[in-house]
Amino acid sequence: MTSLDEATEEFVAFGGDWDEIAQELARRKEERVVVNMGPQHPSTHGVLRLVLELDGETVRETRVALGFLHTGIEKTMEYRTWAQGSALATRMDYVASIMNEAAYCFAVEKLAGITDRIPPRAQVIRVLMMELARVSSHLVCLGSAGNELGGTTLMTIAFREREQVLRFFEMVTGQRMNNAYFRPGGVSQDLPPEALGWLKGVYRSMVRGMDDFDNMVMVNPIWKARTLGIGVLNLSACMALGITGPMVRAAGLPLDLRKDKPYCGYENYDFEICTTDTADVYGRYLVRSNEMRESMKIIAQCVDKLEAMGEGPVMIEDPAIAWPAKLEIGPDGQGQSHEHVKEIMATSMESLIHHFKLVTEGFRVPAGQAFHAIEHAKGVYGVHVVSDGGTRPYRVHMREPSYNNLQSMSALCDGGTISDVVVCLASIDPVMGGVDR
């Protein structure tokens, strides 16, 4: 039981610039209220702190405070090998983790000069996984936006379909999130034999789930009233603020690096860039919703390609880079291939030395720098890698679209009502793991 004393206990919020802002307002004798939203708030998408200056219901100023989830991933990467970086990059934007490791691996491959030597089967698997990650990320965005507007059913529909993606990821990579499946040189292992059949089995129901969602939302008068004309950010504002991804495509610019600067064989797939010109929250969800269907089209093409090409290597055929260990579920439930362990422990000393060298020391990447940008679910995701010729990155920096796009919060919210703050925030689709890194 809660005693009355505990229930009426007073809590005081300290910290940061809070006192200064409140004092400044008191000095100006304006009837403004400062409201601190977050860092723990169910609709701030993680640990984001918004400081809102309110004049009645109207938001006058929005300040964004970050860093609550800063874990120093970029610094940690400098003390791990090039291959280990994949397991760190995947933890940044944990809603589309496959894409982070993809961008990292593409940048490392460019730096090492091995981009052209990645086996075609690995490239198709990568596209398949990236598009599934895009679907999963957009579903989380749409579902949680629906939930924040009071429609919990929208979240359950979206998460139900996302669950299929996560099951597929688990089947292929062993993990639902934070997969570390892409490695410099290819992917860690081939698809299990049952994977494609399973994916074909759920394909139709996933598309149907998206239709369910659209039918409930896109023509729904309440949804339209909450999103149409809200949080407008036109194209010139997007360019000034460096906004990319669904936000800039909702403003009418078909900026999509999959088409513009194709990587990983995207030029071989048939899909459209989804745009609209409303530049508002509604448009951003429309773009995401249409994009998911285009992704499903790409996924179907990937399945066809994989079935047509048959077996093949999924890792570069370069013993100086390719990870030597084979993975499989052994009788002990662990992931080491029994055959491989037998070879290195019992039959071949050279294999053991090779395995040991590559796993502990890693491979070297020629000194220099490279930048690779991909079309992440959230926008242009650029990875800048610098090597000093050693076995570990000298510097890795992620140009995170969430981080950049979050800068538009005050442009979206100032002058609107407080009820639109969460709507605008959700339309940016920030994931704080990626923002703070």
């Binding site: 460096g242 990319t244 930048f371 140009r399 950049n404």
Partner: protein, 247 residues
């Protein structure tokens, strides 16, 4: 496993990279940034492996000669012409084309002028800034701090160009591009937070990821990781930045 003293010995003793091997920026060939000896990061102990005699040069691509290839020549020509109109013939310190990427090293006082031409000239039109990133090279005397900018042209085929500006540790000032590209706001704050590069002209250059009262700039190479020794059966493993690493 080696005793902890061995790890420390690897840090202090042995041949260190020498600075006089770094040629000036005008050199055409690759630039040697570091000379590494041995293989295992241990120096000063008896060499029983034979790997102690191994010498490796870390070489980064030096300045490139014409033609740069692809669209790079046209972009450099247009920029040089614009700069000459303003009398800024020395603004571009060096042009490096490597891995099909164009890097322009810009004199720091001319950064804003260069970026303005890159954004506004109709032949260049790099409208979209992809932010700034710092890199710390403690061995690059007088040019320790590098700020690296990536700009994308939406008009011209989504070309990406890289600008690199250097500043010495003693005077870590670089002009801000906030007025040209408002998106630089948080990116410059992050680079300030992580490297201590002061972007002159930024309206509110405060920390963004680290707490406001944090001391030091964590992404600098001289920033200690502050890890805790891991003890096991009397031996201890030092934090990652003090461990022996492959040279």
């Amino acid at each position: 496993m080696s005793a902890p003293t061995d790890h420390n010995a690897g840090q202090d003793a042995g041949p260190r990279p020498s600075q006089e091997l770094t040629p000036g920026p005008q050199s055409g060939g690759p630039e040697v940034t570091e000379v590494r000896h041995g293989a295992f990061g241990v120096h000063g102990s008896g060499d029983t492996s034979g790997f102690g005699g191994l010498t490796r040069l870390a070489q980064i691509p030096g300045s490139s000669g014409r033609p740069y290839g692809g669209w790079h020549d046209a972009v450099v020509d247009a920029l040089v012409e614009d700069l000459a109109g303003e009398g800024l013939t020395e603004a571009i310190e060096k042009v490096v084309v490597d891995r099909e990427e164009l890097t322009l090293f810009i004199r720091r006082q001319d950064l804003v002028a260069v970026a303005r031409f890159l954004r506004d000239d109709q032949d260049l039109r790099f409208e979209l800034s992809l932010g700034v990133n710092g890199v710390h090279y403690p061995q690059d005397r007088g040019r320790e701090l590098h700020a690296v900018y990536h700009l994308m042209s939406v008009t011209h085929d989504r070309r990406i160009i890289r600008l690199e500006v250097t500043a010495p540790d003693e005077d870590p000032h670089i002009p801000s591009l906030f007025d040209l590209y408002p998106t630089q706001d948080w990116h410059e704050r992050e680079t300030y937070d992580m490297f201590g590069i002061v972007f002159d002209g930024h309206p509110d250059l405060t920390r963004i990821l680290m707490p406001t009262d944090w001391i030091g700039h964590p992404q600098r190479k001289d920033y200690p990781l502050g890890g805790v020794d891991v003890q096991f059966k009397g031996a201890s493993t030092p934090p990652p930045d003090q461990r022996r690493s492959y040279s």
